[in-house]
């Protein structure tokens, strides 16, 4: 009985140590860096790193056009990805739940992209969508000019579709789990009222899944805001006129390729705050309804 108390601390200690070393410390350091004109130097080198207070943030928010472009880009991404994810995951989960034949096959195929490495997936999408790829062959004259990945309008949308495709399995499973908890009698009542499959879907399933929908929206927004891998691998550095440059990719370019660690840290901290704010706002709005 007494042992239960400090056993808890003992059990959680390794995990807390991990969090302290690899979350708290780097985060704290990153925040600290963002207030300096910070760059990494050779060990032992004496370099000047002047304190600039909010200087980095000032430059970022008020004078950096590229950053604004990235915010616009990520907005486009989220606007395509989140509704599509919610709609598709919901419908798919409902369909998969209906005990149709070949269920295992379907579940496997929808989950497949999620377990596959982004590097591998991006390779084949690049092959499908480049200017002479299969997609353009199929579309013939309908293919956009310039081609998808260098097209100002379509580039980010292609990436949004890619990520939606890749992540869908995860959200389908969230919905599948929640579908179990919708009371059976609601469906039976709807049957008695003569509702068809569509009617039941709209009036029973969708409202019953509202809490999970909220979770899906928040999760996919957070993950979307931190988009990095797909733009980095597929269009590397934002494609034409930075049309696919995401904020985190921009941060990476500045921090690693241009060795400007302080400014990069400011970007990262800003994004973390923005994401937290959006998540909180979403939760507030969705809980109200």
């Amino acid at each position: 009985m007494r042992s239960a108390r400090y056993i808890g601390y003992l059990f959680i200690l390794p995990y807390l140590t991990f969090l302290g070393l690899f979350l708290a410390f780097p985060l704290g350091f990153a925040v600290w860096m963002s207030f300096y004109d910070y760059f990494f130097a050779a060990p032992g080198a004496q370099v000047e790193r002047p304190f600039v207070g909010l200087g980095n943030y000032h430059d970022l928010l008020l004078r950096d056009e590229t950053f604004r472009t990235t915010l616009g880009n990520i907005f486009v991404f989220i606007a395509v990805n989140v509704p599509l994810t919610v709609a598709l995951a919901l419908v798919l989960a409902a369909a998969l739940n209906a005990r149709l034949p070949g269920q295992m096959f379907f579940r496997t195929s929808y989950y497949l992209p999620y377990v596959t490495a982004s590097v591998a997936v991006v390779a084949v999408w690049g092959y499908l969508f480049f200017s002479e790829g299969l997609v353009n062959h199929i579309l013939g004259n309908l293919a956009p000019h310039p081609s998808w990945l260098v097209n100002e309008f379509w580039a980010m949308i292609v990436i949004a579709l890619l990520v939606t495709w890749k992540q869908l399995g995860y959200y389908v499973l969230l919905y599948l789990a929640a579908l179990q908890s919708i009371p059976r009698h609601l469906y039976e009542a709807a049957d008695v009222d003569g509702a068809g499959a569509l009617g039941k879907f709209w009036n029973v399933t969708v409202p019953g899944l509202r809490p999970v929908t909220m979770l899906v929206v928040i999760l996919s927004t957070i993950i979307g805001a931190n988009l990095f891998t797909e733009p980095y691998l597929l269009t590397n550095g934002g494609g034409p006129v930075n049309q696919t440059l995401s904020p985190i990719l921009y941060m990476y370019q500045i921090g690693i390729e241009q060795a400007d660690a302080g400014y990069a840290a400011a970007i990262g901290v800003t994004m973390a705050i923005v994401v937290l704010a959006i998540a909180a706002a979403q939760r507030f709005v969705l809980e109200r309804e």
């Binding site: 200690l13 760059f39 050779a42 060990p43 980095n56 004078r63 310039p146």
Partner: protein
């Protein structure tokens, strides 16, 4: 009714408090220890400058350079068993500059890197990663004797020399003779000297053969401008750098003309707005390429020749300057045996080893009097001879603060206005010039 759990909670509260405090205290200690250990680690002491012993070096990932590098290392090791050199290819990465910067930060950079881009030297130097040649007796003198007065382009703003100018790949236009003939153009004396002539030829190639006359990369990486805009800019201005004395040189007069020249070709659809997925020149998807002598070893299957880059009104070839595309060698501060590094550096850039380098890779050592010194080689290899002739008239990137950011900013403006035509060239260049002048003053962004 109080829940039994709550009662238990009351009992164990005090002990729990103490354990909890102890746990968090432990965590804080761990965090501090971790931070302290991270901040520790001294750098190379000043004794390193005179120390001798085994060293590590990195070559580039070019196949011929690796062959030369290994042979040179072997020759050295035979005579210097106590100062063994271990060489490896530079680790792969997005850009070699990022890889080197990471190594500097980690404190595990090698002693010498035979692939240092002059544009990155200000950044490495600012991070305290480089050892200037001034630290060694006769260091700067050696560089000046070998390269001549062109070495002045490579000094840093603080007056020290942090890199040894090693080799260059003077950028010229190479053209596919067979394709030119098919299009009805003269393969022996092609008309590519003035902008008008160049555009004419380009249009003919495109309409007759349906391919791109020339296909530079449309990528946004900071160094791409070195292979389209910058060489032509240098040629048109007779040797100006992008920025001189803190003032941008590209946003007026000739600089704009050069931009408009490239713009006209993109606008006419002669150059695709996408980067080629393969080597366009090798696959004959383009009739020309803008390249250095490295091309000789690569395009062995094609019949091609070389001319200087075009200028607005045509200059005689002896007056045309171009971009050097130089790569240099630097000694890194993480090196423990810097004297050996210095000696090896001199050994590998001696007349004899420069010759071997030239023969194995075809790239031009940044050596004064190159043509005379290796005249026999150039007699046997006329293609190389043309590059060698050009090699005495090369211009480097400006050695300024925030050099990499400067080139990135320029490339963004170039891409937006010239490649994609979203903005008029003069407006885009003017905005870039303003930002760049701030950057080179050393002000963040």
């Amino acid at each position: 009714m109080p829940h039994p759990e709550d009662l238990r909670q009351c009992e164990s509260n005090q002990k729990g408090d103490w354990v909890m405090k102890r746990t968090y205290l432990l965590l804080i200690c761990l965090a501090i220890a971790a931070v302290l250990s991270a901040c520790g680690g001294g750098g190379g002491s000043s004794d390193a400058v005179t120390a001798t012993g085994p060293i590590k070096i990195w070559y580039s990932d070019n196949a011929q350079e690796i062959t030369w590098g290994k042979a040179t290392v072997k020759a050295w090791n035979q005579d210097h068993p106590k100062e063994k050199v271990t060489g490896q290819e530079i680790p792969a990465g997005e850009t070699s500059e990022a890889v080197i910067q990471a190594a500097i930060t980690a404190g595990n950079a090698p002693c010498l890197v035979w692939n240092v881009a002059p544009a990155a030297v200000p950044q490495f130097q600012r991070a305290g990663g480089l050892v200037p040649l001034d630290s060694f007796e006769g260091g700067v003198k050696y560089a000046r004797e070998r390269t001549g007065d062109r070495v002045d382009q490579y000094f840093s703003p603080d007056g020290k020399l942090y890199q040894l100018p090693w080799k260059s790949n003077p950028v010229m236009i190479i053209y596919n003779k067979k394709l030119f003939e098919e299009a009805g153009l003269d393969p022996e004396n092609p008309e590519l000297a003035t902008y008008d002539e160049f555009r004419q030829s380009a249009e003919t190639l495109n309409s007759e053969l349906g391919i791109a006359p020339i296909w530079p990369s449309a990528d946004q990486t900071f160094f791409q401008a070195w292979f389209d805009y910058y060489p032509t800019f240098i040629a048109a201005t007779g040797g100006d750098q992008l920025v001189e004395n803190g003032k941008a040189q590209f946003d007026s007069g000739t600089g704009l003309d050069v931009g408009e020249f490239w713009r006209s070709m993109y606008e006419a659809g002669l150059i695709p707005q996408e980067s080629p997925q393969v080597d366009a020149f090798a696959e004959e998807k383009s009739a020309m390429n803008i390249a250095g002598p490295w091309a000789v070893a690569v395009y062995t299957d094609l019949d091609w020749d070389v001319v200087p880059v075009p200028t607005p009104d045509g200059k005689s070839p002896e007056d045309i300057y171009t971009f050097s595309d130089a790569k240099n060698v630097s000694i890194f501060s993480a090196c423990k045996n810097q004297k050996t590094a210095f000696e090896y550096m001199k050994f590998a850039t001696s007349e004899e080893n420069d010759r071997k380098f030239l023969e194995m890779t075809g790239q031009m050592p940044l050596r004064e009097g190159l043509e005379e010194e290796y005249a026999d080689f150039f007699e046997e290899n006329p293609l190389y001879a043309k590059f060698a002739e050009q090699a005495s008239r090369t211009v480097e990137v400006p050695n300024v603060e925030n050099s990499v950011q400067m080139w990135q900013r320029f490339r963004n403006a170039y891409s937006e206005s010239v490649i994609f035509g979203k903005e008029p060239v003069d407006k885009a260049f003017a905005a870039a010039a303003k930002d760049i002048e701030e950057l080179v003053k050393g002000h963040g962004r």
